[in-house]
Amino acid sequence: MFRIIAAVIGRDLKLAMRRQADIVSALFFFIIVVSLFPLGVGPEPDLLRKLAPGVLWVAALLATMLSLPRLFADDHRDGTLEQLALAPHPLGLVVTGKVIAHWLVSGLPLALIAPVLGVQFDLSADALIVLTFAILLGTPALSGIGAIGAALTLGLRGGGVLLSLLVLPLYIPVLIFGAGAVDATVTGLGGRSSFPARRHHFCLTRLRPWASAAALKIALE
């Protein structure tokens, strides 16, 4: 089981490495969007500190969205996806591998660059650590939910815009918990959280690849 996932991850990473420009441009998109905000709202440190968690998270959502349409599209075009769907191992495992690979090339770089951008917003060291971990833990959920949207819109006209329409509302809990965790540290509230909803959310993590796999099967019929 893990061999299949690992094989898919390895393959997708190799393909992604051949197109490093995509990874880099998504990362720069993130940096530019975040840097635009101080120019829009003004340089007051107090205001920026307040805005930082939300701005960084919204930019992270948008940057993740950029690479989602490509998640299955290339494999769909050259027929690999149909081969994978016909293979004896469950499609959900393949999707899991692809989601992990997507996170490695899109979510992980965001988490690594986030503290640098946080400094621009005058965040404290504590808040920077929480921010990094929040993005590190939250972006896999973004890739997972995004995969469902990517599978549903596979091969449709205007799929990219449609994808964001479908996926962004579902990103809201991630945004709230992710930004909320940082916010709580900034304002010194720390530790207040809604564990039932989070636990619920994490339980769904295991279901998501199967929903994506079902969506892929619908798209491939």
Binding site: I148, L152, T153, L156, R157, G158, G159, L162, L165, L166, L168, P169, L170, I172, P173, I176, F177, G180, D183, A184, L189, R192, S193, S194, P196, A197, H200, H201, L204, L207, A211, A214, A215, I218, A219, E221
Partner: protein, 252 residues
């Protein structure tokens, strides 16, 4: 055995089409009756609320619209589950026929909420947990309609839309609780609507209006589903017969 037979019979568009056609006027009439009774009770008889004056009367459409917007989404998800599990043609059509009405109900709920909030809270919009969740529900409706509209093959549209509905319905509680948690985190911006104990006439007025909205939604959804059926089943004999009939007897 007969039960099962009936179920399959009504699940077939050829039988459901005329059935829906005969039922529409009844649902519409019942909706009007409930609506008139509810308006009479709510607008003419119900006393003034001691906290909110006459402004509270918005409740008679705000609450039914909010209820229907949530209920219709659940019904759509139910049809989606049936459709994905048993591969029935009717369920996808029902879900698609319900979506615009559900979206309109969500919009009405937001619109009346804004008009209620302005005099009571002093703002057209507050980031209250319930208002925010309703807005997200509207987004979910719009996403569903955009997805099904973008897919040309009706079978794939039904299945993809159905899957999206199921994903949405699983996510709704999470969204709601996360928004609620977010709201407590940012206390101060939240305003709690103090529910005064409702007079009995108010409650009855509200329930009657809710029945009116319910029957209205069924009537409109049936009207819409009949058009979708004709469109989708245009190559079948019963649709051809139906089209020929409508030509002689005028519109039904």
């Amino acid at each position: 055995m007969t039960d099962r037979f009936n179920l399959y019979r009504f699940a077939s568009p050829a039988t459901f089409y005329p059935l829906a056609g005969t039922l529409i006027p009844y649902f519409a009439a019942v909706s009007v009756v409930f609506g008139l009774a509810g308006l009479w009770l709510g607008m003419l008889v119900a006393p003034t609320d001691f906290q909110q004056g006459e402004g509270y009367r918005i409740i008679f459409i705000h609450v039914p619209a909010s209820w229907m917007s949530m209920f219709i989404y659940l019904v759509m998800a139910f049809w989606a589950a049936i459709g994905l599990a048993f591969n029935t043609r009717l369920s996808g059509m029902m879900a698609q026929a319900l979506a615009p009405t559900g979206a309109l109900m969500a919009f009405l709920s937001l619109w009346t909420g804004a008009l209620w909030g302005k005099p009571m809270w002093g703002a057209w919009w507050v980031w209250d947990a319930r208002l925010t969740s309703e807005l997200i529900l509207l987004f979910l409706y719009i996403g569903y309609m955009a997805l099904t509209a973008a897919i040309d093959d009706p079978k794939r549209a039904d299945k993809a839309g159905g899957l999206l509905l199921l994903v949405g319905v699983v996510n709704i509680p999470i969204i709601y609780f996360s928004v609620k948690w977010w709201n407590t985190l940012h206390q101060g911006s939240s305003v709690n609507l103090t529910k005064s104990s409702m007079a009995e006439t108010m409650l009855w007025g509200m329930l009657l209006m809710a029945m009116c909205f319910w029957m209205y939604s069924i009537a409109v959804a049936f009207m819409r589903v009949r058009t979708i059926m004709l469109e989708r089943e245009r190559h079948t004999d019963w649709v051809k017969a139906e089209l020929a009939k409508a030509g002689n007897g005028g519109e039904q």
